[in-house]
Symmetry: C3
Subunit: 234 residues, 3 copies
């Protein structure tokens, strides 16, 4: 760890094996695990050329790599071996699970949770409280290796509270509506309406979230969201 970083992060707990590049501002009370890299310079940039800001209370687990040029809010958590490339904006209370990859120019709002081994490509937008399951793959290039890819590339958008089940695939530019639920293993080729539940390959609407019942409670799992009930669920 560089001396300049030590100065900037004196109230953080940084494993001795972590590699912190210059110009990293790490919030108070943060914890950085072994074999982590923070402030990795992107292609063409020098170490420290771009600032990296991580808010207070971060828990950055071992083997995580965070590039320079990320702006991350408070309460950030990364799993082991997570990767965040440059120029992303993350809100407060965001978690990026173990072995997940966030490419560059991704916008992630508050309280978004990304589980393990997921892939979120450049220009994706994950709005407040959305959820990405294990192994989900979001895409953004309609035609790989197309010479015009820089013009046509388009990320997916998860509207607030949208949830994407494990191993699902989202095609480029898809918008998953507010509080919609994409079933595990679904391949989503077109926009998903708000509140819809979709499944299959290609994914089709199979029901609405108001039709779901939690086997434990006998109640709708999303009743708080639906406003049908409001008994203090969070």
């Amino acid at each position: 760890m560089t001396t300049s970083t030590a100065a900037r992060a004196e109230h953080a707990e940084i494993a001795p094996t972590a590699r912190i590049h210059p110009n990293v501002v790490l919030g108070e009370g943060s914890v950085v695990g072994d074999f982590v890299i923070i402030g990795e310079p992107p292609r063409g940039a020098k170490p420290g050329e771009l600032e990296t800001r991580i808010g207070p209370g971060a828990v950055i687990r071992s083997h995580t790599v965070i590039y320079a040029g990320n702006v991350i809010g408070s309460g950030f958590q990364s799993g082991h071996g997570a990767l965040l490339r440059e120029s992303n904006s993350l809100g407060d209370s965001v978690s990026v699970g173990s072995h997940s990859i966030i490419e560059h120019h991704v916008r992630i709002e508050d309280k978004v949770r990304i589980h393990s081994q997921a892939f979120v490509p450049e220009f994706s937008t994950l709005k407040r409280g959305s959820w990405v399951g294990p192994g989900v793959r979001i895409t953004n290039a309609p035609h790989p290796l197309c010479p015009d890819v820089k013009d046509c590339i388009v990320g997916a958008t998860l509207e607030p509270g949208a949830k994407i089940g494990a191993n699902a695939t989202l095609l480029p530019g898809v918008v998953v509506g507010e509080n919609a639920l994409v079933g595990a293993g679904a391949v989503v080729t077109r926009d998903v309406p708000a509140g819809a539940v979709v499944a299959g390959n290609p994914a089709r609407v199979v029901k609405h979230i108001q039709d779901l019942v939690c086997s434990a409670s006998g109640l709708n799992p999303y009743r708080a969201i639906l406003g049908e009930m409001s008994e203090g669920d969070e």
Copy 2:
């Protein structure tokens, strides 16, 4: 590596860059690769508070992370970058492949082989000799972010000898029967009968393992299991 660990593992070969926390018991003849962490304290626990036991002859490859509170039998192997969270029980001769993730409270019996990049969530049960292919995603939460998730969460069960093909997805609580074969890319939404071969999204029974023929031998690949022949296959 801590001194206490050195004392406990004097017949093991531990890379100098590996990080071994206190209260790790590593069996004789074990090999630990570079940038490995063993005994990582789970949330709320202090280093060394929970014992970690790994049987003799383990091969723990580079960048693997094993949390405190695992009890692992003899002949364990991990691939590179494998992750095992806390409170799991693993039998003898278990392998967890490169970049695979085993969450917590998972029970894995003897001779289970988990290939690369797989995901096994909490409360899963993998019985003797079952096999999990590359990129398989097992799930356990019927409704992500449901406020009652702690009550309704339910892992999948692989009965002895069940085999799950690459990139398959198992929905919460699914039981894959003894020696059944789940085809690559299948999305398994309901229980699979013993000996069945399933494929598709959603997965459907397409044949029985007694109908399979190995192109190399011209014989049934699971004839030893089926008891049709017993010529010393292992």
Copy 3:
């Protein structure tokens, strides 16, 4: 890093935390990141027993593991945490993305690009200019744990310019034809004709690449390949 390696790579830039085993030849101008291992001995081999050759201008990003016995051309790039096991042959200008795994005895020709979190098993052949998307899983064992697996194992072949969309699965022995496009999330169970576009589970031909239109240019994204136009696209 060993002294012998320092001698062999004096024009390379090697992070101090990287672990370079003996008998690694690293081309001029190469860059090796933190927590990387190069020349890892495969099972049964001693460190340095097998030569590892990496051409000039390689960029080997952090946490990558490259086994001994690889022969890699010029301009190689690996993402973070990539894994290449032994006895592979890679041409020039090949990239292997973050968290991707290349098993052993894989042949990869010039200009092949493998994106993130992909899995390429032993005996696969990826021909010139082919592309493998994020999370693609190629398979090679028709019947997992079959006692005759060593005889019947058969890798997939990507013909020149074939492109495999994110999260797709290829069954053992499949041949994906020249310039064909496999849609994201497809499960490919049989050979794909040259120039075909396939999608679904199981994958079926849905169109030909000559029917595709780039939304940005209004032109066919693969017109240069198709020979319909040749205006200097690369």
